[in-house]
Amino acid sequence: MSERPSVDRLTCILCPVGCELEVRRTDRGLDVQGHQCEKGIGFATEEVLYPKRNLATSVPVKGSETRLVSVRLSDRVPREMIFPILREIAVLRPAVPVRRGQVLIANVLGTGVDVIATRTVD
């Protein structure tokens, strides 16, 4: 996604209403239309200027190729950090037991966000 049209059509993903937003870049900043609540403006601004995402994957525990622990990030990161962070996670081999919520990489690549386990493996 390198090029963007001048009008962005977004679906707000903050709640199930799923407002269809239209975002235009103007000289005075962004113009957001279609939101039914104030949260829509914040969402649209972030989504157009610096979209953030969480990510989920799974890694084998130490000494096994088939017992996996699934992981995610403690918070969303700028979208362009997804693949660099995936490369960091790919070499992880956590030792059992792993607890749900356990931090496996703290402050991954300086993002201020942790990689955490999302299941318990005894």
């Binding site: 799923g18 799974s58 996996l68 699934s70 749900r100 318990t120």
Partner: protein, 418 residues
Amino acid sequence: MDGTTPKETLHDVVVIGGGPAGLAAALGARREGAEDVLVIERDRRLGGILNQCIHDGFGLFLYNESITGPEYGERLAEDADREGVRFETGAMVLDLTPDRLLRVNARSGYRLLRARSVVLAMGCRERTREMIEIPGTRPAGVFTAGAAQNLVNLQNVRIGREAVILGSGDIGLIMARRLTFEGIAVRGVFELLPWTSGLERNVRQCLLDFGIPLELSSTVVEVRGRDRVESVVVAAVDGGLRPVPGSEREIRCDTLLLSVGLIPENELSKRAGVELSPVTGGAVVDDVLMTSVPGIFSCGNVLHIHDVADFASDEGFGAGASAARFARGDLAAGTTVRVSAGPNIRYCLPQHVRPGTAGVDLSFRVTRPLRACRVTVQGKESGKVYFRKKYGRLLPSELQKARIKAAVEEDMEVGCHE
């Protein structure tokens, strides 16, 4: 065991299936006062399909935060354990009778259970290549999206190098992103209908984010390859969903994922004589989620396909509470009025309501995308409007809810008009 016939054990509420709906049903039954609540789960681990859904977006309604499937499942199982629910994992229910006798193949051997009430929470299955009849050879490399999700997320299997995905169901969209993360190139997602069947947010964050092409009104018309998939042929379809001659093109790939629909898993329900709806594939239920067989309740994906696990759990809590009331003799089967699907409504649940009931929660889906529309629930005799709401947009992929505040006294119809 001393003889050939095992002894029967008696339970207040037996829940079949330990996924998001079943665990919630067990909790709902305990909170309504049922003493002996047992969950029977086929897998060795509780959580059902949640275990392989490692992406986030779960728990927004139940826990007010966005967590992953495994976290949601573990938390729900811990809640149930703390509140006195008992579990039998690695156990499969072989048969269920109308008088609620369960024949179970458990780890300890063959057992007979008698339940004062039963909650069906067996979830659903995926539609397969055979069910949609894709022509061509039969090589390895054709997976349902959920089977691929299990192999990738739970078994560390690399399923291929280049994939094509047929169908835009949520699992297919989620898998497009997951395969991209695993270094597998996704050549495109092809959807038969002129609209996506998955949620908008998944189109955005699973396809658009990674530049994966989505082609609507198109399908796979042939699979090629001898031992392993070597390519698929895709074609545009016309308004009647028939392939348009001359529009075929070949896409090289070694993997084809199918995300072409889910079917409620009602083999046990049929054995118990539960009436099924030809539209939802699940049981016909009343306002307390009781099926046509007294004392047997249904919730979650075995009742109808949900797009959000939280809603399956929400339904589970209700079914479990009803099951507890039936078990203690507080709920009898009685006469009902009918709720039917009218213009632009594919189905609505429950299909039956006890007359005089106020605060009924209806679930419904529309047949096609609709804009600037109004949903009404109207009495068939009196024409009285029980519910009316305007929507900017309604999609078939989004399950909608409507609460009927007034007491219902007559047959009703749910309709939607643009």
